[in-house]
Subunit: 270 residues, 2 copies
């Protein structure tokens, strides 16, 4: 989960998201709309008798802010909350498991803030079944070949890996960037990601206000997407003044066509 505003647990329930599937929470910065849902979620996990560890990645102050509240409901808690301190000013690997790596993306906001880049690890090659059949590759060798090994036949002949395999499924990358002023220096890090979420708090006519409050306009977000050659852009975090979405959508798509507006409960497949 990335960020956890007030009411997150209610939205999870409404959208039938399984609570037990969540093990890692990434908090971009310590403005209330990005973390005020944590006390409720964490205490609900206690009442559900969760046992799995829950990892929270955030600026060091988060633990200080929530410490007393968490203590008030977590005596004899059934599960452990692990806080991982991140430095929002540094681009670094903060989390890694079997299939994914998560990096911080330093952003520029009124307080320390970072985005997150989710990057799949390289996947194994696909077997070229007709070829492995033709060369009668034994079963126990197939995993090695998927991971790049050549095959040596019983007679000593070496069959090159590329004859036996097809390219792996390409890895997928998702970048989340909120909240930030227009910031070109993030481009190299998010180049060609499959999906970019970028904040677009204002329309371009409010660009002065955007700069002043360290936010981005829809046009600027689309410009970042275009310059970084991403495959798809979602914009969100709109100011409450925009009751009509059309303006922001029109503005963004004029620069970068593959733009969607974030709506409550949307889900996207990468």
């Amino acid at each position: 989960m990335i960020d956890c505003g007030e009411g997150t647990q209610l939205q999870m329930r409404k959208n039938r998201i399984k609570f037990s599937r969540l093990n890692h929470i990434f908090i971009s910065h310590l403005h209330g709309d990005h973390y005020f849902g944590l006390p409720g979620l964490l205490s609900t996990y206690g009442m559900m008798k969760r046992t799995a560890q829950l990892h929270i990645y955030a600026h060091k102050d988060l633990e200080i802010l929530l410490k007393d509240i968490i203590l008030s409901f977590s005596k004899n808690s059934s599960y452990e909350i692990l806080f991982h301190t991140i430095d929002p000013n540094k681009k670094e690997l903060i989390c890694e498991d079997r299939s994914i790596k998560v990096y911080t993306i330093p952003l520029k906001h009124r307080i320390p803030c970072c985005g997150f880049l989710f990057e799949e690890k390289e996947r194994p090659l696909h077997l070229n079944k007709p070829m492995t059949d033709y060369y009668k590759v034994p079963l126990y060798q197939l995993n090695l070949i998927k991971n790049g090994a050549d095959y040596t036949k019983p007679d000593g002949e070496v069959i090159e890996n590329k004859k036996l395999t097809l390219p792996a499924t390409p890895i997928r990358r998702y970048a989340y960037c909120s909240d930030t002023i227009y910031l070109e220096k993030i481009i190299p890090q998010i180049e060609q990601v499959d999906l970019l979420f970028h904040e677009a708090t204002f329309a371009e006519e409010e660009s002065a206000r955007a700069k002043e409050t360290f936010h981005t306009t829809a046009k600027q977000a689309a410009t970042i997407a275009w310059k970084a050659k991403v495959k798809k852009l979602i914009i969100g975090h709109f100011s409450a003044r925009y009751t009509e979405d059309t303006l922001l959508k029109t503005e963004a798509t004029s620069i970068f066509n593959e733009t969607s507006l974030a709506n409550e409960g949307d889900s996207y497949e990468i």
Copy 2:
């Protein structure tokens, strides 16, 4: 406002409740479902540039729990938050203004907890217009008469107040009792209130569980209402296990007919 669970500000917006009308918040106890909406609400007031003082009445620990979070968003705040410490074990007047008095109702829960009794102040008498006209009571005397004074005519004759007035509109009383184990000692304090909200977390078949967790059953809540001769009862705070309301409603109305179930967004006129 009585209690402030997670998502309260969202519900206020959804139900078009004017944020500026709220000046006093009463927190019954420090379980998360009764106060986790405060950080969001208080920070929203800051962003709205509220200037009026906001009064919060709660157990002393609330201020300790929220202090750091409030500090994090309220530097140079446009408005002042005043915490008033209440002792949930004592029946006392905690708040009073021109028209209303608020008292604590000591309850018995797993942690210190109290309900609240809202009691209108005595209202002025109604003028008996034909009589004041008949006696030609001058305009400047009418307010005194509304407040109980007799009228002395220019010739010295005294007209008794009760000849000139009709009874005042009766004062209205509302009692809120959540969370608590079945507790008969609250009855004298809430006797004959116009409206009683009482928690009913469980049905009677779970009365053992209710006792164990210091909650009330629907039947017990109705028994309190009946014994206190209240005019109307609203039950709420239902356990999530009751997806069908019928059971709790049937159980309560079998004891006390004037029972309603609390639903999100309901409003009642007293």
